[in-house]
């Protein structure tokens, strides 16, 4: 299942990026190779100090909309500098300028080392109509670097970005994992897990009928769900992982999920919680007080759906066939002996 979803994500990303890039080329969205007309004002005169002349850039909204065939309009003026370089004159917008599309996208390609939009000044047209013979302003045309395959570049960059993020997330988990796995080890040795198992057995047994009655997995699951209910996501993860490891000890297969594993996962994705996530609290402030009741109802209902779905889908022929605990065509169980002791440390 995951194979298909994963492949679908990748293929649709590639196809969409390709189609939208080819569409951009066809419509010439970025007007590659055509200079954009604009007006430059020189608030401090035209004398350049060190090759840099501060300018105020004015882009006429009507001209802009005609030029790029867009509904967006630029701000009345942008600050920038005119640079005299070996190759001619370069107009550079100040960093952080709020640019309309497609200039914003063009900035991603035609930019200075500091991410400022820059383009080559093709020529000045003076005197400027409507500006009289005001020497402090001039009409100019600016050419940006050609923009091609924006989306293709973007999905490539996103892949690298997210790979880095993924490793960062995992590394960030080390501390919390170590803390809770350490405490869990004590709980195991001291017999606390078994005490918890006895308490929660009546509630959890119907959900996990395949797990033996006194198995520590039930205790880990209970701790995982408790942490979830109280909105302690950081603590819930190590408990959930530990629960999975316990369930894996019961799994005759190396790499195939068992029914209890799927149930644990479904119950976790439904995320039963009485305490709203900290992130939501940070975003909405006290408004959350009025929402908590709605969240509890919704999460309760979706938990029911999760349990029913995990159970029902497990009964489908496809899921039955792939069940590592299935009994063979003559009713014999697959060989299980000796696996439990082998798997302990994972």
């Amino acid at each position: 299942m995951l194979n298909y979803i994963w492949a679908a994500l990748l293929i649709s990303a590639f196809v969409f990026a390709g189609v939208s890039d080819i569409g951009d080329l066809g419509r010439d969205t970025y007007r590659n190779g055509q200079p954009l007309p604009l007006v430059l004002e020189f608030p401090e005169g035209t004398a350049a100090s060190g090759g840099r002349t501060p300018v105020r850039i004015q882009i006429n909204a009507g001209v802009y909309q005609d030029f790029y065939a867009t509904d967006e309009s630029p701000a009345p003026s942008y600050d920038g500098v005119l640079l005299r370089t070996g190759e001619g004159m370069v107009l550079r917008f100040d960093a952080g300028a709020a640019l309309p599309e497609p200039l914003e996208t063009i900035r991603g390609v035609s930019r200075s080392n500091d991410d400022e939009l820059q383009g080559t000044v093709e020529g000045f047209l003076s005197p400027v109509l409507g500006l009289g013979d005001d020497p402090t302003a001039a009409q100019a045309t600016v050419q940006f670097e050609p923009v091609r395959f924006v989306k293709m570049t973007a999905i490539g960059a996103a892949a690298l970005d997210f790979a880095e993020t993924a490793a960062g997330i995992a590394i960030g988990l080390i501390g919390v994992l170590a803390l809770f796995l350490g405490v869990m080890k004590i709980a195991e040795e001291a017999g606390i897990i078994y005490a918890i198992v006895r308490v929660v057995r009546p509630v959890l047994r119907p959900l996990f009928p395949e797990v033996p009655e006194d198995h520590p997995a039930l205790g880990m699951i209970a701790l995982n769900l408790t942490a979830n209910v109280f909105g302690l996501g950081n603590a819930a993860t190590p408990f959930g992982i530990k629960a999975m490891e316990e369930l894996q000890k019961l799994n005759p297969s190396e790499d195939t999920a068992t029914n209890p594993m799927v149930m644990l996962l479904a119950v976790n994705t439904a995320s039963v919680q009485l305490v709203p996530p900290v992130l939501l609290l940070a975003l909405l402030g006290l408004q959350i007080n009025r929402l908590i009741f709605a969240i509890i109802i919704t999460t309760g209902l979706s938990l029911l759906v999760a349990i029913v779905a995990a159970r029902l889908y497990g009964k489908l022929p496809g899921s039955r066939a792939s069940d590592p605990n299935r009994t063979g065509p003559f009713g014999e169980a697959p060989p299980q002996a000796g696996r439990d002791s082998r798997r302990g440390e994972g």
Binding site: L10, G182, A190, T256, Q287, I288, A294, T299, S319, G346
Partner: protein, 180 residues
């Protein structure tokens, strides 16, 4: 209602300290060498974190590419005509789609919606309830199954997504009922 909230808040403040102090204390009473045992268990933390990296990378980079390509927007445009008739507003559809894929992305979306529709709007309430009542399904799959090297996930994703879809519909319905 207010009292219940207070109590829940109080409990949640105590859960972690009670576990972190209570378990070793009880271990001491049971004559468990608590320090050595803790270190023994904590050693696994690094292994587990490293073990989930390939699974997380596989899932997150695919989702990142999917978002960056604009396919997400197309999916939203595609689903809109189906959902509009059943009273599912187009404004919260991005949230419903992004939530199972990325936690930080959907939090960003809530922030964006607060800015666009105002804190008090029905859309923000729906999005917030969606955020609060579901988990990042693909992340949970990657982390939990990754930790035990499970590659064939069987019906885990269909079950998780069914619960997610149900939660999204319930969120719209419950918010309409309570605030609409």
């Amino acid at each position: 209602m207010e009292l219940a909230r207070e109590l829940i808040g109080l409990f949640s403040a105590f859960v972690i300290p009670v576990i972190l102090v209570g378990f070793p204390l009880y271990g001491l009473y049971k004559r468990v060498p608590v320090y050595e045992t803790f270190v023994e268990g904590a050693k696994e933390g690094f292994g587990v974190a490293v073990r989930i990296i390939p699974y997380l990378v596989a899932i997150l980079f695919a989702i990142g590419m999917f978002r960056a390509s604009g396919a997400m927007d197309a999916l939203i445009a595609l689903l809109n005509p189906v959902l509009e008739p059943i009273g599912f507003p187009a404004e919260v559809l991005p949230m419903a789609i992004i939530r199972p894929l990325t936690g930080s992305g959907s939090a960003g979306l809530v922030a964006d919606m607060v800015a666009r529709y105002g804190e008090d709007s029905l859309f923000v309430k729906m999005a917030a309830v969606m955020f609060g009542s579901t988990e990042t399904t693909f992340y949970v799959v990657a982390v939990y199954f990754g930790a035990v090297n499970i590659k064939r996930t069987r019906h885990a994703i269909p079950a998780g997504l069914t619960a997610d879809i149900a939660a999204m519909l319930f969120a719209v319905w419950v918010v309409r009922l309570l605030f609409g």
